[in-house]
């Protein structure tokens, strides 16, 4: 059931939240053995929350138009009294003592939380294969990955287990899985959504955002979770996004930027669909402008230097002392630190901590981290110049459709290159959305990424509403999942 239909049914009284949530739980129980989108599910708690919502509606005391709508939560977002494991052994038993700010806002609006969606450990990965507990599968082909790191969120929404879910995006972790699973995923402007209570990977890049099965789900949830928060020092002093900022755009007046790229790293299906999208926009009267993104090939290296440097610092808090896994074999403090971290963190997390420690270490700092920070400024400046020429930038979200489970796990660089079209957006702090653009010849979803200037999500979602009406971009679930 689409998000908009769920919301409408709850508001006109044709369905109760109990009915909606019970049906979703049934579907989750049926599909989970194939998909593994959740790390755990507490049916009793969900049903209690749904009944409480129904009681509020019956008493005419609905908290908002969203009261009773189910929403999935990625396992790196803290919910008081719930495990927030980040799909890591080091936090396997960590029960959060507080709510993230986005959770406070969702609860205040009456949303029903479905926590513990699977992810790559500490959001480090592009396939959800780095989860310490389970590999999530793509609902379109369960031999393939759903993307990552918010793979549980995207797969659950795509499989109809949820109408909407929260993910987090540090280098593409909302958009890439949304693309590979045929759903919508918004990475908001940096500073637009509070990061308080999001367990940090790379603080200058992380941003929470919605993944939904229609555009209204993205817009509604973004309107609820956005806005200034004193608990996050990087939160921008702007009011929350209003859905009234979405309007009808005249496509004929738009200038759409496309990056000069030979597309050699794109699959034929992705290239063909992107070219088709460009032709559709041209036919609607949009002006297509080719942009020379000379720093494009640097974006993944800059990202992996900066993100890993921040990760090595952020993850130093997991030391076995105050919370999380403690391994104390020798009774010596130094051994407690190293044993807890070495047994608690998975291989990819350790690899990134090591890379970050290396680029921050004496003798290498200026050559790597310092250089990456300066190149990041150049990249941001390049985006600023693009947006003096165009309204939006259109790209594929991922260079290929979903790859096979295990296909890239042996080669970290090939895995990192899965983020080649998304990381630059995080480095520049811009908003971008991945939208479904139909299926390829392999029957797998293709996604298009639209990027806009900072804090222009209203115009971005207005444009996306138009793109959502393009018949060629329709995505239907495979019959066995329907």
């Amino acid at each position: 059931m689409k998000y908009s239909a769920t919301k409408q049914a709850l508001n006109n009284g044709t369905l109760t939240s109990y009915q909606v949530c019970s049906r979703l739980i049934e579907r989750i129980e049926k599909l989970e053995p194939k998909i593994h989108a959740f790390l755990s599910i507490n049916k009793t708690k969900i049903i209690e929350a749904a009944r409480a919502s129904d009681a509020r509606r019956s008493a005419g005391k609905a908290l908002s138009a969203f009261d009773g709508i189910p929403i999935g939560i990625k396992d790196n977002i803290c919910i008081q009294g719930e495990v927030a494991s980040c799909a890591s052994k080091i936090l396997a038993n960590f029960v959060s003592p507080y709510n993230a700010s986005v959770i406070e806002k969702l609860l205040a609006a009456g949303f029903i939380l479905f926590p513990n969606l699977n992810m790559d450990e500490f959001a480090m990965g592009s396939s959800t294969e780095n989860s310490a507990f389970a590999v999530t599968k793509n609902p379109f082909d369960t031999s393939r990955i759903p993307g990552g790191s918010s793979g549980g969120s995207a797969a659950a929404v795509a499989a109809g287990m949820l109408p909407v879910a929260l993910g987090s995006d540090t280098g593409g972790s909302i958009r890439q899985p949304a693309s590979l699973c045929g759903v919508w995923g918004l990475k908001p402007t940096y500073g637009r959504v509070s990061r308080y209570g999001l367990i940090a990977y790379a603080s200058s890049l992380d941003q929470i955002g919605p993944i939904a099965n229609d555009t209204q789900g993205v817009a509604d949830v973004f309107s609820v979770i956005s806005g200034k928060d004193d608990h996050d020092s990087t939160s921008k002093n702007l009011p929350a996004f209003q859905t009234t900022e979405i309007s009808e755009l005249s496509i004929a007046n738009l200038k759409i930027g496309i990056m000069k790229d030979d597309g050699s790293q794109w699959s034929a299906d992705v290239k063909n669909r992107f070219d088709e999208a460009v032709e559709i926009l041209k036919a609607a009267g949009a002006q297509i402008i080719e942009l020379d993104f000379s720093l494009f090939n640097y974006s993944v290296p800059i990202y992996y230097i900066i993100a890993t440097a921040e990760c090595s610092s952020n993850l130093s808090r997991f030391d076995g002392i105050r919370y999380g896994l403690r391994v104390n074999k020798t009774g010596k403090l130094e051994d407690l630190y190293t044993d807890s971290r070495s047994e608690g963190f998975g291989k990819e997390v350790q690899r990134r901590i090591l890379l970050g420690t290396f680029s921050l270490s004496s003798g290498y700092y200026d050559a790597y981290y310092g250089k990456a920070q300066k190149t990041r400024v150049l990249l941001k400046n390049q985006y600023d110049s693009f947006f003096k020429q165009v309204d939006f930038i259109l790209q594929p979200t991922s260079p290929t459709t979903a790859f096979k489970v295990g296909e890239k796990t042996g080669d970290p660089i090939q895995m990192y290159k899965a983020d080649i079209l998304t990381t630059s957006v995080n480095l520049a702090g811009l908003p971008a959305i991945s939208i479904p653009a139909g299926l390829g010849t392999d029957k797998l979803p293709i996604g298009l990424q639209v990027t806009s200037p900072a804090f222009s999500e209203g115009r971005l979602l207005s444009f996306v509403n138009w793109l959502a009406t393009v018949p060629q971009f329709k995505v239907d679930l495979p019959e066995e999942i329907q």
Binding site: D230, S312, R322, L355, Y416
Partner: protein, 94 residues
């Protein structure tokens, strides 16, 4: 990067690499460093340190006590907790 450098970096990161992990981690690590190495040739002479931080602002709040975790909440998540304190191994070796 050689084996000794990798072990030195791991020590800084408080990670212990098993002998069986070191070779594969070293290969991955060197491949990744080679992949990002191009960045060292970037001409960034037009960017100064100030350009990186100029747009950052200090976030301040009134100096008043806010909500914080209570002792029992800390005790609930601590690996070992006794008499109001998180228990850790002896810090000063005897």
């Amino acid at each position: 990067m050689d084996k000794n450098q990798l072990i030195s970096i791991a020590n800084l990161a408080k990670l212990k690499l098993e002998d069986s992990q070191i070779n594969s981690m070293l290969i991955d690590f060197n491949n990744i460093v080679a992949y990002v190495d191009d960045i060292r040739n970037m001409d960034t002479s037009s960017i100064h340190d100030d350009d990186i931080y100029l747009n950052h602002q200090n976030a301040v709040r009134p100096d008043i006590t806010g909500k914080c975790l209570q002792t029992e909440e800390i005790a609930a998540i601590a690996p070992q907790f006794e008499n109001g304190y998180v228990v850790v191994p002896r810090v000063i070796e005897t």
